[in-house]
Amino acid sequence: MQTWTVPTLNKRQSRKRYWSFFWRSYAIQASWNYEGQMNLGFLYGIAPVIDRIYGDGTPASLEAKKDAYRRHLAFYNCTPQTSSFVLGVASSMEEEYARNPTSFDPNSINAVKSSLMGPLSGVGDSFFQGTIKVLAFGLGVNFARKGSILGPILAVLISFVPAFLVTYYGGKLGYTAGNKFLTKLTKAGIMDRAMYLVTIVGLMVIGSMIASMIGITTPIHMGKAFSLQKTLDTIFPQMIPLAFTFVMYWLLQKKVTTGWILVICIVSGLVLSPLGIFK
């Protein structure tokens, strides 16, 4: 397999890259959609990195570039402000992969993204929306009530500063720490093992998200005596979301095109809800 040389960034280039992480994290929700959520935003965010790696125009590069673009179409969802960190880490991994395409499993990039997005959303949402926002606007409201324009201005400023710091330095940290850590792993010759372990974390987090973020239930019941959902719950809770996910997975394995699956998803919703089967 061909390898690529990824020249390291000089200071100016580094700064440019961190700003790019910053702005593209800011815009990461521009095409938020139910299937992939912020995936296109993530692709958009990492695109400059990929373009730089595979920019020499050779056919091999083109194929590798296509693969990389495709890779980042995978489901992604995370608090915008903490996404730049993920962009940073994923970028360092993309570069490492380009350098060692044989020993580096590119699937681990998505595994890392999945491991990070769950916890970073939890921490990020509760920090920015649960803490900062409430503090900022709690203060702002007090001013505004007295008719002072300072209210909204202060609130936005207080909202902005921590968000700025986390987003900018998060991206930087993700990229540099990622690089450092990956170099260490490569030198120690335990990249394979590390990627395997990362996949485990990723999958556990995805499993947990299936159990907590889909929430499809069934309203089927018979009077008060019988509720299908309750009966299912005695076997195991969140059985329906798991089933839906595995049905989708199975369709994918059966090489059903994603376009069709998309149609199936929407049509199922439009049919199964009025029939009173799921809600």
Binding site: S25, S31, N33, L197
Partner: protein, 259 residues
């Protein structure tokens, strides 16, 4: 009225851009929207006061994951406008604005559902090597769709009055609302399946299930599972036979289908 409707539409666009383009700097919050509406309609003080009242009501609300609550930006822009234009207070105005917020919520769901097709188009563009076109789906068309929706909804509500909106909202049958909600829950399942595809093998499916069952039975949050996953992996790292792993990469395609 035309100018006002346009300007208010633009305020709504700004509110929308906040979370779509400006990293959620909280411009979308009622307090800020109220101030802008006040500026536009020439009564900043009232705008601030109405905005502040709405803010107090909604401050605790957070956007988490894929949930779709009634649309706050629409709600606060319209509510503040009506409070100023028809000299009522915040709460009354909010009741009048509610239909718009609900309509916005519904259209939003459909929009985000529709944008799922972008994934297909992006994939096609990538296959064809049209990378820029793929990127534009996100940064151009995604934005445009979002922004237009807000502009049009606010413009129409202000220009024709909320009466029309009310009629429209009433015309949407409940079953459709429910059906759309269900569909919007099924789609993430698809997203997860896509994601799993890149990682799942016969050997690793067990970890997906461990994560699932910990949350399903134990009600632990995703953060908790992530923490335990890292701890588990650190223990496994000590334990796993060294050889065992080297072959993983190659095995990746012997996926679950064989089961």
């Amino acid at each position: 009225m035309l100018v006002k409707a346009i300007l208010l539409g633009l305020v709504g666009v700004l509110g929308n851009l906040d979370s779509r383009f400006l990293g959620r700097t909280n411009l979308e919050q009622p307090l800020v929207m109220g101030a802008f509406v006040g500026l536009v309609l020439g009564d900043l003080t009232k705008g601030l006061i109405v905005g502040a009242s709405l803010e107090l009501v909604f401050m605790g609300m957070a956007n988490i994951g894929a949930a779709a609550p009634p649309d706050l930006v629409l709600g606060s822009v319209i509510a503040t406008s009506f409070a100023i234009l028809s000299h009522t207070n915040a709460q009354t105005a909010l009741t009048i604005a509610l239909p718009v917020a609900i309509l916005g919520q519904m259209i939003g769901i459909v929009l985000r559902m529709f944008m799922s097709t972008f994934n297909r188009w992006a994939a096609a563009d990538i296959d064809a090597g049209k990378f820029a076109k793929a990127r534009r789906l996100h940064i151009l068309w995604g934005l445009l769709l979002n922004v237009s929706m807000y502009f049009i909804l606010i413009f129409l509500s202000i220009y024709f009055g909320t009466g029309v909106v009310k009629v429209v909202v009433k015309a949407i049958p409940t079953w459709l609302t429910n059906a759309l909600t269900l569909a919007s829950k099924i789609l993430p399942a698809f997203g997860f399946a896509l994601l799993m595809q890149t990682m799942l093998t016969k050997k690793t499916v067990v970890y997906l299930l461990i994560g699932f069952f910990i949350t399903a039975y134990g009600n632990l949050s995703v953060i908790a599972v992530a923490i335990f996953a890292v701890l588990l992996v650190l223990v496994l790292n000590e334990i796993l036979p060294k050889k065992n792993v080297a072959t993983t990469t190659e095995q990746n395609d012997d996926d679950l289908e064989e089961l």
